[in-house]
Each structure stands twice: as C-alpha cells, then as structure tokens.
Symmetry: C2
Subunit: 328 residues, 2 copies
C-alpha cells in the first residue's frame, strides 16, 4: 500500500481533513465544525476526532507517514501555537503534536494556514514547477506564503511570511498589529470595505456613483465583493477604491520582488474572486516599486486551487517535512 | 593535497584574489588594479591574469574545484553580467564563465559582491552557525545578502537581495533607481551626507552644532564618517541625522523581519565603522516596524569580517555551488 499523509486545514468555521498520497491524489475529504468558540481544548478534541474518522475510513494507519496541519497564527518547533490566531480564543498555547503522537503514534508538522496554501499552490496549483515564489492571500487580512527552492519557507521559528504587515505608509491607517500603514489595511477585504467607508464623503466625480451612495447610506451592507462588482461595472468610486488598494498591494509586492526576486507572485484568497481587475491594476502599479529587470523576470498570476488548497497543502507539508526525518 | 577554490572580489578599485580550502583557511592573498575605467574587456583580462598568478603561486590547478567571483551588479546563470554595475563601464554584457573555462578548464560561479560578503559572514563571521540571516551592507549604496537554510539565496536569476531599494517612503527622496524613498537614500554613506546637506538650513536646536555649521559653510567636506564622529560627540545635528538614517533603516529591516523572520540581521559596510551608535539607534526603532514576536527571535549585530570578506565569500560560493555539481 502506498504511503499517505493526513492533511488538516483548521479554518475559523470548519476543520477539513483529507488522506493524500505523495503524488497529490487525495480521498476521504471530511469536514467537521472547528468549535473555535468553545476554546482551544475543544478545537484540539475535534482535530483528534477528525484524524480518527479519516483513519477509520482508510482502514489502517500502517502506511500513514504523519499529519500535516495548517492553522491561523504561528506554531513553534514543538507544536505549540504561539499566537496570531485571534479569532480562535484559547487556541494560543495549545500543544498539537504531543496529543496526536499519544493517541495515534503519528508525527505531526504544523504551520500557518496561508503558508500551506502557498505550498499547495506551489506543488499542485499556480506555482507548479516554479522554484521561488510568494503567495499573497487576500482575505479578512493578508497572509503570505513563501516558497524557496521549491520548498515552503517558514523561517527558523515557523513564523515567516507576515507580508500583510509590510508597512507601506508610516503615516497610514492604524492596523490591528498596533502599527500604521500595513498593506492589509488597504488590500484585504476588511481594508477595502474600510477604504470605501472612509473615502465616500470625500470622493467627487462627474459620473454618479451608486457605490458611493451605498457607502454613505448603508455602509453596513458594504463588502469587498460589492466594491468590486461596482468597480467592474465602471462605477467611478469602485474604480477609485480599486486603484488605492491595488497600488498599496503593488508597493508591498515590489518590496518582495526587490528582496527575493521570485519567479512568480500568486494572488489568492476571497478578494481575488474579483479576478483580473486586481491582477491588471496591481501589474500596472508594480513598476513604480521595484527594479524593472526583476519585475520582467516575475509573473503575477491568480491562485488555481480552490478551497481545498489548505488541506492539500497540509498533507504536502507532512510529506515534505516528516518523510525527510524518517529517511535521513 | 586538499581541494581548494579561487575566490575573487571585484571592487571598484582593486581585484582581490585568494586560494581557500573548504575549512575557510586561505593563502596567497593577491591584489591587482581592477582597471574599471578601461572597459569590460580589460577587467576580464585582469581577472584572468589574477587567476593565473594565483595558480602559479599554488603551483598546480589539479586540486582546484573552480573559481568564485563577487562583482557589483547581477550575473545570470550563464555568467553574463546583466547590469547594476554602473561604476564599471562596459562590464555589463561581459561573459565571465566561458573565458575562464577556456583558459584554465575551471568552472566559475559568480554573484553580487554584497551577496558573497553575506555568505562569508554566514560561514566564517558574524553569522556562523546561523540558519537564516540577512546582511545589509551600508556603503556608497546599500546592498543586501540573504542566507536561507545556511545557503546564500540569489533567487533564480542571481539578482535577489536588492534591499537597498526597499521603498520606505513613497513620497520620499528621489533615488538613482528612478523611484522615490528607497532606504539607501537615507542610510547609505551617500544618503547620510545628503541628509546633512539638505537639513542643515532647517535644523534648530538650543545647543550649538558644529556639524550644522560645517554642513552650511563647507558642505563638500561632509562624509558619513564626519557626521557620525559628531553624532558620537553629542552634536545635536549629528544625532538628528543619525535618528533619521537609522529609523528609515529600521523600517526596511522591520519589513525583512516580517517577511523572512531571520535569526540574525547583520549590518556591515563602511558606514558601520561608526559602530554601536547605529546598532543601538536602529534597534530602538525596529519595534515600530515589525511583529514584536519576530523581532524578539532576531539578533541585530555588526559584521565581523573586514575587507577580505568579499574574496573569502567568493571562494566559499565556489565550494557551495561547484562542489555540489561535481559530486551529484
């Protein structure tokens, strides 16, 4: 029987698990509630139950090389959640590796959920065959995943890739991290909605803007999707917000290009459902923020894998990190 | 006889060459003029003559694994200089690898001069034993070297590490690269002198400043060393310039920390002769620009190797990249 890994994607709402072989083929996609509001112990319990379910479906754990897990926040080398997972109260401080070893005799490797999404894209999606790449996940915040020499780069303490907090304007908007002008305050879903709320009063144009009216009259109905629906429909206020969001994102991407000279930058996450308008606008602004030569050597593309990317990447991480330990 | 590599550091004034063994011990340090003003062909000729001299001193090329070269600018995978070496007219477009292979039968690997300095620091200097680190070389400009998993990271096209052009202020000072607000316009030797020239008129303080008087009366006598001599001697204008330069540098370092979460950031280059005043001021400002958790896991230190770092790093690069090719 072929070796397989268990891949688990810990989301704010659901835990998603798969059994995956080394070639990327997967089976037994299983979803259970995360139980995030019931505290860290409950989340861990639900993870253990999910692993049990998956192994039961598989029939045996004999060929299982281990468990890969993607979680919001950071995980240290011993498997303890260090923080950065503010939407999961009590998850910080939880040790993940020991209980899985105790209950199933399986090694676990865990890292940030965006990092594993980048790994999934690198191995089986928009980054397939690409040596050096960086993935920006434009969601509620902005997360990042870095692939160096075909391998996911987590830094020595599992915490690299905080590219949503690249400060693009030292006098800019206050960020949840305590600093100012982080790129996620402009180009995340939250940032886009905030920009629309903040700028609606000031925005002037000859062409009437329905989006502006919505932002003034029912700001609570705003979403990144709505802003982009209007932007794509030539609404001048929507287009104005798009320009600001994409220019700030281009600044951060330009810094990444100057630093790492990646072969490819991948844009993913919920905001990217808006599609080409973002790619096109960002690409237009990037030349202002990095060396032309480096930009010419770098593609800017959309992510390819859908919402299963997290679980796929988690299993891929297990193959990358756990198999190595066994054979060396 | 033990294997050795030839390491060559191509500087604006001198070519420096060594014979180095895998343990870092080196001999036959040789210096010849670069001949940069006589064009790229002459520079190449001088490199070939230097290799010849070194091999003559060694007596034989039998145990030579190859040549490592550090050069200003970028070099592609085939050994052709792509640019970024503006102070060496005609050097761009020169192929380095083929002539060395033809004349000596030796493989060559070349990369940016700051990158190899970082490699030297990583293997034998301030970064010894450190897995992930970034080196800022504060000289005429600001160069960068990145070490990932103990190996120098050049990117797929040999051009990564342009961290001197991280844009820390989109409305900032114009840079030679055509953009605005690159960190090297503030924290390089050139940047520091320019800040002193620009800000002397505006600077007000209760304590009289000799440096301000010099900047107003004989601006041509300013140097980064002079600014720092006064700053260390409690001159208020010198201290003001130091704060600006170090805060901008801290912004760029903060971005690097958020992105790569390095274990260590090394500051080197001529400006660092000023020593601890820079380390201390930068360290004070960094917390404003990155995640506290990541900064706590990162040291900020001064480079250890002196002016031979380039040649040492070049030879180390040869061991890293050429030996691998031979044995795999």
């Amino acid at each position: 029987m072929k070796n397989f890994a268990i891949g688990i994607d810990l989301g704010g709402t659901n835990l998603k698990g798969i059994i995956m072989e080394g070639d990327g083929s997967f089976r037994h996609l299983t979803r259970v509630p995360t139980g995030g509001q019931e505290g860290g112990t409950k989340v861990l319990e639900n993870i253990l139950t999910l692993i049990e379910k998956l192994l039961k479906k598989e029939g045996s754990s004999e060929s299982c090389i281990g468990v890969g897990l993607g979680t919001p926040g950071f995980v240290d080398d011993d498997g303890t959640v260090l923080g950065g997972a503010e939407n999961l109260p009590g998850w910080k401080g939880t040790n993940i590796y020991d209980p899985i070893m105790q209950q199933f005799g399986l090694k676990t490797t865990a890292t940030n959920d965006v990092t594993i999404t980048a790994l999934a894209e690198a191995k089986y999606g928009a980054g397939k065959g690409i040596k050096n790449m960086v993935c920006f996940a434009l969601g509620t915040g902005i997360g990042g995943g870095i692939v160096i020499n075909g391998k996911v780069y987590k830094g020595s303490h599992g915490m690299a890739g905080e590219i949503g907090h690249i400060m693009v304007d030292p006098n800019g908007l206050p960020c949840t991290c305590g600093h100012k002008g982080c790129v996620e305050q402009y180009a995340s879903a939250t940032g886009i909605v905030n920009l629309a709320k903040m700028l609606a009063m000031k925005f002037e144009s000859d062409i009437p803007s329905t989006l502006k009216r919505i932002a003034l009259e029912t700001p609570e109905s705003l979403s990144a999707k709505l802003v982009y629906d209007y932007a794509k429909d030539s609404d001048p206020f929507g287009q104005y917000i798009n320009e600001i969001a994409c220019e700030k994102l281009a600044h951060a991407i330009g810094i990444i290009i100057n630093t790492l000279s990646p072969d490819r930058v991948i844009l993913g996450g919920g905001v990217m459902k808006a599609g080409h308008i973002i790619l096109d606008t960002v690409a237009r602004h990037i030349p202002k923020y990095c060396w032309q030569q480096l930009w010419e050597l770098c593609d800017l593309v959309e992510s390819e894998l859908g919402e299963d990317a997290g679980a796929i990447g988690a299993a891929a991480l297990a193959f990358e990190e756990i198999e190595v330990e066994v054979h060396v």
